[in-house]
Amino acid sequence: MLKLTTLSLFLFMVSSHPNGKAASNLPMHDLELAQRAAGDPDAFTDLYHRYLPRIYRYHLARTGHVQEAEDLTAQTFLTALESIRSFRGQGSLSSWLFGIASHKLADHYRHSRTELPLEEAEQLHSSIPQPEEAALQRLEIARVAMVLHLISPERAEALVLCLFGGLSMAEAAQVVGKSEAAVKMLVHRGLCDLQERLTVNLEVA
């Protein structure tokens, strides 16, 4: 938090404007949609359809289980529905929704302790069934999710938010509470880690 209060604003000033008069990154249609969704079920349904695939992909890539991903997706939208009135347009609607999704996932991990130690997770690979045509997509996601458990949670989170959640680095930065530069770093390192682990994993297979 203190980083934000630092007075070294020399670099900051070239990329943003502090009094709120600059053109906002917030897509107005998202803001309008959120405001309408607070009292209009149809508007919330629009919001739901707009974000359902991205929220679902995020949860599926993080858990690797369709059932858990659907459960977490449902929880995410139910919480969004309960608190949509609190969305105040500071940051994007995407960041707000993925913030809820991230918290739901954290709660899920805390209670189910699905994070696996390295050796255990690598052994799990052999228990994953070979791809069938109809289930190819889910099996691939499962493999990615499994390997994501082998890398730092922060790197995995940044990578999944950007590649599966469809967020920009700025939006992902809002979700994880870090600077955009830090998210770039995490995505970069996460991708390197993932490729390294996937390579090892495929060789083992």
Binding site: M13, G20, N25, D71, F77, Q90, L163, F164, G166
Partner: protein, 629 residues
């Protein structure tokens, strides 16, 4: 040369950067189009695109959401009951969770029975509350912020450059105040590390202050756009003999589209000016290292720092109002000032000054806001506010935040380039254009002003905001530190972040990367411990890492949010303050909305949260202290 297939190539990483940057503008290429990332990143993006939820699930969830909306609009059941009902209604929620909820309900009933029958076993916060929530006495309302010096009378020295405010009509009667939820966010679960459980036990470790009968509400006046002439006057009054610049990106946007900000540059000093605030920085006394902050050692006594900071601001015509000094961040060298309005602090720094170990001013920041009274309101008592907070239900009139008490700023080291040596800089240069005639553009990078033939670089930066690698000799002329540019090239930003461990050997200092390779670390500060894992920012030149910033790994990296299900909060400070919702990131329309421009009188409750794991967090809650007329 064989490609290492276990790592993405620099090209792939650059493509991913460009793709995600294009996404910012909603102009990212589709698979198969030029610019779509190749390699693993591209495969993952395509995998994501081809992943869709089961249509049956999507339809089922949509139906549940619609039913939830209807149930909510009837308002026949309390919120917790709706949430619980929904939990049972979700087919996706697994059986184990349903059993868990059922067991929890049984547990709650049993606990309640035991609680009622054996009250002496539970010396609870509720009992404390009953003692403390007595009718208010006539003691002073304002509880000083800690650590604070006594309130200081306004100085009578120089007046600041006049600020032109747009007059606001004073209403005949007080306007309706916005809800805190609209202004700051929701009650429980607002900002913080995760969801704060509803109904988390709260207890008071202080007495509730007395309440005044009424409090005045204020409107934050809107400044007129800053002009070049005003900016010149402000810089002159600050004591700078400066050229004025604007950010290069601003040049292509007309002033009616975006208000101008100006930057005065005088040697290594710069003053950034917006219509509502000023920010000063001396790159020699307080070099910029990507905004890093870390506690400093060897600072002068705080009394001396307060005196220096106060004198510095008053000499320049600021701090001309009653204020309190806040030293809670003095371990960073920061002396902060809160403005008082009718003897109540506005909970937003009005000014800050950073003092370096030599007792000099390195940076300063000043708000140029002013306020207009718009009416008086009866005050909700602190006792009523406490009851509302302690009820543990989400409310439009409550905003709660919490954050770790641990200092989250990891230690870092910044590079200082000695004069007369060749330096290699990696990063994004600050590029400013002159605001008036007869001046040259200004380029600064890693705290060095770039000089020499800059034409090619400036041409490149006009259409690229990317990182560069620049090299040349470091020179010091009349106290200004330059890089005499010998050459430059575009640089892939991703290549500039490295992760490894410091190795100190008889052959020199190295950063050992995760693949076992080593890069030489020149000018490594003596106090960097050996064998410590570090993030490095810089770039490679042969087998040398030309670093700019070295940073230890954050202590909370990779950790899950703390478990707050068994946590409790102890409130040790309660005071009446004015809350100024931030205007920095709201949309242009919202900055003019009275709901966002009002100083909202609130009761501020601050304290600590502890959980069963012994983790320590700061708790802060605001409860609206006035009711609408």
């Amino acid at each position: 040369m064989d490609q290492d297939k276990s790592r993405p190539t620099a090209k792939e990483l650059t493509e991913l950067t460009a793709f995600l940057s294009a996404r910012e503008q909603q102009a990212q290429p589709l698979p198969g189009e030029p610019g779509f990332p190749t390699g693993l990143a591209g495969e993952l993006l395509m995998l994501a695109e081809s992943t869709q939820p089961d249509p049956a699930f999507a339809t089922r969830l949509e139906l549940q959401l619609r039913q939830a909306v209807k149930a909510g609009s009837k308002g026949s059941r309390p919120g917790w009951w709706c949430a619980l009902w929904q939990s049972f209604s979700i087919p996706e929620r697994n059986t184990a969770m349903k059993r868990l909820i059922a067991f929890a309900l049984v547990g709650i009933v049993l606990f309640a029975l035991i609680y009622i029958s054996i009250p002496s076993l539970f010396p609870s916060p509720t009992q404390t509350q009953l003692v403390l929530a007595t009718p208010p006495t006539s003691t002073s309302v304002s509880t000083p912020l800690s650590p604070l010096t006594p309130t200081v009378a306004p100085p009578t020295s120089q007046s600041p450059v006049a600020i032109n405010f747009i007059p606001q009509p004073v209403p005949n009667q007080p306007p309706s105040l916005p809800s805190l939820v609209n202004a700051l966010g929701s009650g429980y679960g607002g900002s913080g590390l995760g969801n704060l459980p509803e109904g988390m036990p709260l207890s008071l470790a202080t007495e509730l202050p007395a309440s005044p009968a009424e409090v005045t509400a204020y409107y934050r006046l809107e400044n007129t756009p800053l002009t070049l002439e005003e900016a010149s006057q402000i810089a002159s009054q600050w004591g700078l003999n400066a050229q004025l610049y604007i950010p290069a990106w601003m040049a292509s946007i007309t002033p009616d589209q975006i208000e101008r900000s100006y930057i005065a540059v005088d040697g290594m000093q710069n003053l950034s000016m917006w219509n509502s605030e000023l920010s000063y920085n001396d790159l020699v006394k307080s070099p910029v290292y990507s905004g890093h902050q870390y506690p400093q050692t060897g600072l002068p006594p705080s009394e001396q720092a307060v005196s220096t900071a106060t004198q510095y601001l008053t000499e320049r015509g600021y701090l001309n109002y009653p204020y309190q000094v806040d030293l809670s961040q003095y371990n960073y060298g920061l002396v902060n000032f809160y403005r008082l309005q009718e003897n109540l602090p506005i909970n937003y720094h009005a000014a800050s000054v950073k003092i370096d170990p030599q007792g000099q001013v390195g940076t300063a920041w000043v708000s140029r806001e002013d306020y207009q009274a718009v009416g008086s309101y009866p005050v909700v008592s602190a006792s009523q506010a406490w009851d509302l907070l302690n009820a543990g239900q989400p409310s439009d009139e409550i905003s709660i935040s919490y954050y770790t008490a641990q200092d989250g700023n990891p230690q870092y080291w910044g590079r200082v380039y000695p004069a007369s040596q060749i330096a290699h800089l990696f990063g994004a240069p600050t590029y400013l254009l002159p605001a008036g005639p007869e001046a040259s553009p200004y380029l600064q990078m890693n705290n060095l002003v770039l000089t020499g033939d800059l034409s090619g670089l400036m041409e490149y930066l006009q259409s690229n905001q990317g990182y560069i690698h620049a090299w040349g000799e470091v020179q010091e002329v009349n106290g200004t530190r330059h890089l005499q540019l010998a050459g430059w090239e575009p640089f892939d930003e991703f290549s500039g972040y490295l992760d490894g461990s410091v190795r100190r050997t008889p052959d020199g200092d190295f950063l050992e990367l995760n693949d076992g390779s080593r890069l030489r670390l020149p000018d490594l500060p003596e106090d960097v411990p050996a064998d410590i894992p570090l993030y490095a920012q810089g770039g490679r030149v042969d087998n040398t890492l030309e670093w700019f910033i070295l940073q230890v790994h954050p202590a909370d990296e990779g950790q899950m949010p703390p478990d707050l299900s068994q946590a409790q909060a102890v409130i040790d400070k309660v005071e009446l303050v004015y809350l100024a919702p931030g205007l920095n990131n709201v949309s242009p329309d919202m900055t003019l909305d009275p709901a966002y421009r009002m100083l909202v009188p609130v009761w501020s409750f601050t304290g600590r949260i502890t959980n069963t794991g012994g983790e320590d967090m700061v708790f802060r809650a605001y409860v609206q202290a006035v009711t609408n007329p």
